[in-house]
Amino acid sequence: MKTRLTYRADFWVEVISDLLFQATNFIFILVIFMHTDSLGGWNQNEVVFVYGFFMVPYGVFSCFVNMWGFSERYIVKGEMDRILTRPAHNLFQIFLENVDPPALFGSIIGLIIMAISGANLGLPFEWWTIPALILLTLSAVAIYTGIYTTLTSLSFYSDAPTGILPLMYNIQSYGRYPVTIYNRAIQVLLTWVIPFAFVGIYPAALFLERDEMRGMALLTPVVGAVFLCLGLVSWNYGVKRYKGAGS
C-alpha cells in the first residue's frame, strides 16, 4: 500500500484511467438516451442510478481484490511458493499484496451519481437505505470475489495463460442494464451462471422501488455467500494440487 502511494504520478494516472473506463460506459448510456426515451421500460435517470450503484461495489472490489496477472506473477515466476511458506491464509496474503487504493475513487463517484440521479427521481431516503446499501455492496463484492477467485484458481490446473479474465471484464458491465431486455438464455446466464446481474440491476432496483425485482434484490446476499464459498473451495482445492514452478 505504501509503495503504491510513493509514486504520486502513477496514483493519479491510475485514478484517471479508471475513471475514463467508467466514463466510456457512462457515455454509452448518455448516447443511448439521445436516441430513445426508455430502455426496456427504464428511463435515463433510472439507468444512470443503476450505473452509480454498479460503480460502488466494483470500486471496493478492485481496491481489495486484484487478481489481474496472478498466473504470470505468482505461478510462472514462482512467487506462490513464497506465499505458501507463510502462516496466514494464502489467498488473504495475495489480496493484501495487491491492494489498489485509487480504485476507491470509482466508488465515491458512484455514490455521487446515485445521489444526483436519485434526487432527480425524487427517491425517498428511508431509515434502511444506508444499511441496505452497505449490505448489498458487500454482497456484490462477495459475488465479484467469488467469480474471479474461481476463474483465477483455474490457473493452478492449466499451464497456459488463461485469457478468460480480461474477457470477463467486458461481460460484467452488462449486469447493469435492465436484464429484461435480453433473451432468456442471456438472462439466465447473467443471473445464475455468472451472476453479474446481482452486482448492478437487481440490488439497485430495491432503491428504485421496482417491485418486480425486489425478490431478486433480497436474494443478493445469498448469491454472494454461495459464490464466495464456491470461489474459496475451488481456490483451496487448486492450491492443494499446486506443485510449484519447477525449479
Binding site: 484517471i16 484511467s17 454509452f28 478468460i164 467486458n170 433473451n183
Partner: protein
C-alpha cells in the same frame, strides 16, 4: 532477409497454436458480447426505423462484424514492448540485425492470422447462426472489407507500438496502456457507431485515427458505404497508416539514442 521476417509470422502463429484451447473460450465470450449488444440495440430501436443512418438490421450486422474484426486486429504488442523495455531485453534486440519494430509487427501479424482463423471465422459463423446478420452480396464489399480489415490491424498495431515505446520516456506506462485500450474501444466505434455520437463529438472523432480501426470497415461491410465510397474510406485508412509511421520512426530513433545514454 525478408524470409527472416516471414519466419517471425510463422513462429508466432505456431506458438499461438500451442495455446489454442484459450480460443474456444474466446469464441464463446465474443459471441456473448455480440449477443448482449444486439439485445441492447434492439431495445433501443424499439419501433424506430433508423438511428444515425443505421437500420436495425444494419446495426446487428455492424455489431457482429465489429466484434469479430476486433478478434482479428486486437493484440498485446504494447504490453510486449514495454515489458521488453522494462526488463532490459530490448537492448539485445536492438543490436540484432533486424528492425525491432518491424519484427514486433510481424509477430503481431502472426497472432492476427491465428486469431483470424481460430477466433474470427468460427465466431462469425456462430454469430450468423444466432443473430439476423445480413452478409453483403456484392463482391466489392467483401473485397473492400478484407483489405480494410488488414489496415485495421496495421493501424491498431501502430497505436500499440507507439504506446509500448512510450515506456522509454514515461516511468510507468501502465496507465497509458489502459487508457489506450479504453479509448480505442470507444472512439473506434466498437461500442457505439460514430454516427450516433452528438455532432460535435463525431466531428472530432472523424479527424482522429481511431475510426479507421472499426467504424470504417464496419460501414463498408454493412453496405452503408458502397462503390466509389469504398475507395475513399480506404484512402482514409492508408492516410492514417502513413501518418502514424512518423511518430513510430521518431520514437524508435529517440529510443535508441536514449538507450545508449543509459547504457553508458
Amino acid at each position: 532477409m525478408l524470409g527472416a521476417y516471414f519466419d517471425f509470422i510463422r513462429i508466432r502463429f505456431l506458438t499461438m497454436l500451442a495455446y489454442r484451447v484459450n480460443y474456444y473460450s474466446g469464441i464463446l465470450i465474443y459471441t456473448l458480447n455480440i449477443g448482449v449488444n444486439y439485445f441492447t440495440w434492439k431495445a433501443i430501436y424499439g419501433n424506430g426505423e433508423s438511428l444515425g443512418g443505421f437500420t436495425g438490421a444494419q446495426m446487428t450486422t455492424y455489431v457482429a462484424v465489429s466484434w469479430m474484426a476486433r478478434a482479428f486486429y486486437f493484440n498485446n504488442l504494447d504490453r510486449e514492448i514495454s515489458t521488453d523495455i522494462r526488463d532490459g531485453s530490448i537492448a539485445i534486440q536492438f543490436i540484432r540485425p533486424y528492425n525491432y519494430v518491424l519484427v514486433k509487427m510481424m509477430q503481431g501479424l502472426g497472432e492476427g492470422l491465428f486469431r483470424f482463423m481460430m477466433l474470427m471465422i468460427p465466431g462469425m459463423v456462430i454469430a450468423i447462426l444466432l443473430f439476423p446478420v445480413q452478409l453483403p452480396t456484392e463482391l466489392s464489399a467483401w473485397a473492400g472489407f478484407l483489405v480494410m480489415l488488414f489496415f485495421s490491424f496495421l493501424i491498431s498495431s501502430q497505436i500499440n507500438v507507439i504506446t509500448g515505446l512510450s515506456a522509454f520516456f514515461v516511468e510507468n506506462n501502465e496507465g497509458m496502456m489502459r487508457m489506450k485500450r479504453v479509448i480505442v474501444d470507444l472512439f473506434s466505434g466498437l461500442i457505439i457507431p460514430i454516427s450516433l455520437f452528438p455532432d460535435w463529438l463525431s466531428g472530432v472523432l472523424k479527424v482522429l485515427p481511431f475510426q479507421a480501426i472499426t467504424y470504417l470497415p464496419g460501414s463498408v461491410f454493412t453496405g452503408r458505404v458502397q462503390g466509389v465510397g469504398i475507395w475513399n474510406v480506404l484512402g482514409v485508412q492508408v492516410f492514417w497508416f502513413l501518418v502514424l509511421l512518423i511518430p513510430i520512426v521518431w520514437l524508435y530513433h529517440a529510443a535508441r539514442q536514449r538507450l545508449f545514454v543509459q547504457g553508458g
